[in-house]
């Protein structure tokens, strides 16, 4: 089964939940789709890492053949092509390489070259295969890297796979959850946290995915995120306490479920509920 872990903003606890669920599951695969700032590998410290560069195609114009007819510029919905002095000019950082400009060019004056935008790195940490997507600094879109990660995931099916999503609810998150059998939404116990929870809650409903919430940083007293879940009949899979010891271990990049029995139990319990929900 494939489990996606998402949240409306960064720093909510996606990686904490993802890394620990993959760890307690055993014989699992962990995919870090938060390609702008992947950090799961800091916890897993994978060994025998191999890397693969990810390229995207970029159109280039053969100025000798271009007659400045503008068919390419008119076709491009992202306005990545301007026509100046009867010659087309490409803006690679705005291009969403669809190949359409090449198809409409009557002169065959457009060809594609490949440009590296990042890489995926794969290694092993105990019985977990750890695969991270890494987008080069300054690049616009991580989607091609996420697609490469998901292709690898499909080519190497595993009994249990955790997809650590990027924060928010934009295209990169949608790409990441497309193949998921279940989505875990991680939420903070604040009014702001409820706003962010609502974003991903709407997203998983739109995609028709089964889902549940893990409440992170729980304190005594009222938890607005818990109130939201109760009001919307959202199953709560677990509560991670606001615990100084957890914070210390986590900031030292330790996987808490590997060293603290209490947390091993907590994440095992969350995992069991997810498996039961998927089997139903």
């Amino acid at each position: 089964m494939k489990l996606a872990v998402l949240s409306g903003k960064g720093g909510t606890g996606k990686t904490l939940v993802s890394v620990n669920l993959a760890s307690v599951a055993g014989n699992a695969a962990y995919y870090d789709c938060d390609v702008e700032e992947p950090n799961g590998h800091l916890f897993f410290k994978p060994e025998n890492v191999t890397e693969k560069t990810v390229f995207v195609k970029t159109p280039e114009i053969d100025a000798d053949d271009c007659i400045g007819c503008r068919k390419c510029a008119d076709f491009c919905k992202f306005n990545a092509i301007a026509v100046i002095g009867e010659k087309a000019m490409v803006f690679p950082d705005v291009c969403h390489p669809c190949g359409g400009c090449m198809m409409v060019c009557p002169q065959n004056a457009i060809f594609e070259t490949e440009r590296p935008i990042g890489k995926i790195a794969q290694g092993v940490s105990e019985d977990v295969t750890v695969t991270s997507g890494i987008l080069n600094m300054g690049e616009e879109s991580g989607v091609p890297i996420i697609r490469t990660l998901l292709r690898d995931m499909k080519a190497n099916p595993n009994d249990f796979t955790v997809i650590d999503c990027p924060p928010g609810s934009a295209c990169v998150v949608m790409e990441s959850i497309i193949d998921a059998d279940f989505c875990i939404l991680v939420a903070e116990p604040t009014v702001f946290g409820v706003h962010n929870l609502n974003m991903v809650y709407e997203l998983v409903q739109l995609f028709g995915k089964p889902y549940g919430v893990v409440l992170n940083k729980c304190l005594d007293g009222e938890n607005p995120a818990e109130v939201f879940c109760t009001e919307h009949n959202i199953p709560i899979l677990g509560r991670i306490p606001f615990d100084a010891e957890l914070g210390r271990l986590n900031s030292n990049s330790e996987i808490v479920s590997r060293i603290d029995e209490k947390y091993h139990k907590l994440f095992t319990c969350i995992l069991r509920q997810v498996k039961e929900a998927v089997q139903q």
Binding site: A73, A80, A82, A170
Partner: protein
Amino acid sequence: MRIAVPVEENEKEICPSFGRTPLFYIFDTETNSGTLIENDAMNAPGGAGIKAAQTVIDAKAEVVLVPRCGENAAKTLEAGGVKLYESVGLSVEENIQAFLDDKLAVLTDIHPGFHGHGGN
């Protein structure tokens, strides 16, 4: 010479966004008259600066008066031989006069653009 200025719907004030301005005012110094043209890039999902620059180049402007400009628009305008000058205040009329009186400076501070912040 033709001078292009991004203007608001009220047709009098300069719009601070080159790419997403609703209109461009094109002033022709030879005829001493101006026309308004629509900016098709106003609601473009992306690449608005590039498309707006194309509109200005197609209108045969040689100069653009703006308070600021993104890098893709600036690159397109440069390729089209259009020069950028930094506008002062909001009045379209006063800025055109200031340019004609040699009182506006060349715009050198090109920002990296506001594109890509919708999470595409």
